[in-house]
């Protein structure tokens, strides 16, 4: 019998397994739902700033839902905060967000010392939580979540100015992307050193619909790969989640050097597998379906994904905090049965 950790790592390394793992990475795709937090008392927003609560809540989610991993942290703002943007930690039901980007334009960005920055903010909280969870649950893969480079750049510089700058001020744009990517690579390696078995990169701003194929390739693919390379240097696998329908950037997916690609509910995974048989794909149970049910429809959807040969079963996007435990259990049980 494979442990959940062995199973996930085998899949990421293209080895045969008994059945697909069913996971929820954490980060932008976390399952910190209200029902779990209220029953255990390990709540947000406290869990964003206290490493013990963060680790406990992540373990609660694994236990209550049946997701076969522990995902840390529960937001995408740790990086933006150390870069100097203003962040609100949100509430029990509302996730943290950047309230004010530090810079108005790309040209204004003044890079600071990355090693020093990684000692600021909540980085240590996240690393401590990863270490605590990994020590307490050696058979469960702890997934360390980082923000993708486009999303982080859009949390550092006003998003509209950033998007315009990708065309108009390419020199500054590449300078900023190199900066945030170096920071993200180092942060991911710290997560690995503290016990993260896998790193997941979520980059919701890097969609084909927003950037178009040309800029997606020039910025998203290039810098996501740069981050992946630094994580691979520490012998750790990487999952990349891409939002949106991907129609216009589909052909670029094989260029992303991730060990698995996770996609949105809009993407037909059977077709994706047909088009790219070499790709390890993850997804894509609609979070809207998970919120509203019914449970038998959730089970049927999951069974269809398993039959289609989807390598890792997972929600397609961030879960609503009002999703119920029973609906998620319908999802995870359908994979295990």
């Amino acid at each position: 019998m494979l442990t959940p950790k062995a199973r996930l790592l085998k899949v990421l390394n293209r080895q045969a397994v008994d059945r697909p793992p069913v996971i929820c990475t954490g980060g932008m795709m976390n399952a910190a739902i209200i029902e779990i937090m209220n029953s255990t008392g390990h709540t947000l927003p406290e869990g964003h700033v206290n490493s013990h609560i963060m680790a406990q809540l992540a373990a609660d989610i694994h236990q209550f839902t049946g997701f076969e991993n522990i995902g840390i942290p529960f937001c995408m703002t740790v990086e933006a905060e150390i870069l100097g943007s203003a962040v609100s930690y949100g509430t029990l039901s509302c996730e943290p967000k950047v309230t004010q980007e530090k810079y108005r334009t790309l040209a204004e960005v003044h890079p600071e010392d990355i090693t020093h920055m990684l000692m600021q903010g909540r980085v240590q909280v996240v690393l401590d939580a990863i270490r605590e969870a990994a020590a307490a649950h050696p058979e469960i893969p702890v997934i360390g979540n980082i923000c993708g480079p486009v999303s982080l750049a859009a949390s550092l510089v006003d998003p509209l100015a950033l998007l315009k700058g990708l065309r108009k001020d390419k020199a500054s744009a590449h300078r900023v992307f190199a900066y945030v990517s170096a920071l993200l690579g180092k942060l991911a390696c710290l997560m690995v050193e503290n016990g993260a078995a896998v790193i997941s990169i979520g980059d919701p701003t890097a969609t084909g619909e927003i950037l178009g194929p040309e800029l997606f390739e020039e910025y998203a693919v290039r810098y996501i790969n740069q981050i992946i390379n630094s994580i691979h240097e520490s012998q750790t696998d990487v999952i990349v989640h891409i939002c949106g329908n991907m129609n216009r950037v589909r052909h670029l997916l094989p260029a992303i050097q991730a060990d698995a690609i996770s996609v949105d509910a809009l993407v037909d995974l059977r077709k994706l597998k047909d088009d790219f048989p070499q790709m390890i794909v993850m997804g894509n149970v609609s979070t809207y379906l998970l919120q509203n049910g019914p449970a038998d429809k959730v089970s049927a959807t999951v069974q269809r994904l398993v039959e289609q040969g989807v390598d890792i079963i997972s929600p397609a996007c961030g879960l609503s905090t009002s999703t119920s435990i029973s609906m998620i259990q319908a999802m995870t049980n359908a994979v295990r049965d």
Binding site: C94, E95, K97, V98, T99, P159, L160, L163, K164, L166, R167, K168, P204, T205, E209, I210, L211, G212, L215, C243, G244, N247, R248, T287, Y288, Q291, C317, G318, L319, S320, T321, S322
Partner: protein, 215 residues
């Protein structure tokens, strides 16, 4: 020989489509110098360029960065021409726009706002992370004909339904239309929560608004 005004309009339109801010300004200055009607230059030049850019966006030839740069060129030309408008055009209708509470992604909302402004509507922008009550309070105070609410996150979609319920409570549902949009929103969802329409993208938002808001 005097260049025909149609050629100026074409050049203005092209400057917008080609994202050439400085050129848009230069042509707009010439338009003023030649005493060509500013309103006509906006309508047949700048606005036409933005419509063409919107079409390219719909056809997935242009994406958000291109659309934003086209808008910059349009606004730059507009700044030159506006003071020379003989009569200020009456706004076609008042619209409240914002991203619902819990979501701080406002790229899509800003595009829709820009396209609706280009189409002649008066927009009141509540920004991002807007509580349902605020949409309704402002809509009431401003006697707005429409609320346009967006979200990119499935976790915040239920706030849209909340806006509609609050409008009903205030007895404003008949007077104020609601259009919803954004990544996770679908026509089925819009129908389910009782919204008047779902807009898939900015150009569709303009088309729908023209149908829903008439003065």
């Amino acid at each position: 020989m005097k260049v025909k005004k149609e050629e100026y309009f074409q050049q203005l339109s092209d400057a917008v489509v080609n994202m050439e801010e400085e050129k848009a300004v230069a042509i707009a200055v010439q338009v003023v110098e030649q005493h060509i009607d500013a309103f006509e230059a906006i309508e047949k030049g700048l606005s036409d360029g933005m419509t063409r850019a919107g079409k390219l966006y719909e056809e997935e030839e242009y994406f958000i960065p291109e659309l934003l740069l086209c808008a910059d060129a349009m606004y730059a030309g507009l700044d030159v021409l506006k003071p020379h408008l003989k009569v200020s055009g009456e706004a076609k209708g008042k619209i409240i726009i914002g991203v619902v509470e819990g979501d701080t992604h406002d790229i899509g909302k800003n595009i829709v706002k820009m396209m609706l402004e280009t189409a002649g509507y008066q927009l009141i922008d509540l920004g991002r992370d807007v509580p349902p009550q605020r949409f309704v309070t402002v809509a009431k105070a401003e006697q707005a004909q429409m609320i346009a609410a967006a979200t990119l996150m499935s976790t915040t979609m239920d706030k849209m339904e909340h806006i509609i319920k609050l409008l009903e409570t205030e007895g404003l549902r008949g007077k104020c239309k609601v259009v919803v949009g954004g990544g996770p929103v679908s026509p089925a969802f819009a129908k389910k929560i009782g919204a008047d329409a779902y807009a898939e993208n900015a150009t569709e938002a303009v088309r729908i608004t023209k149908d829903l808001v008439s003065c």
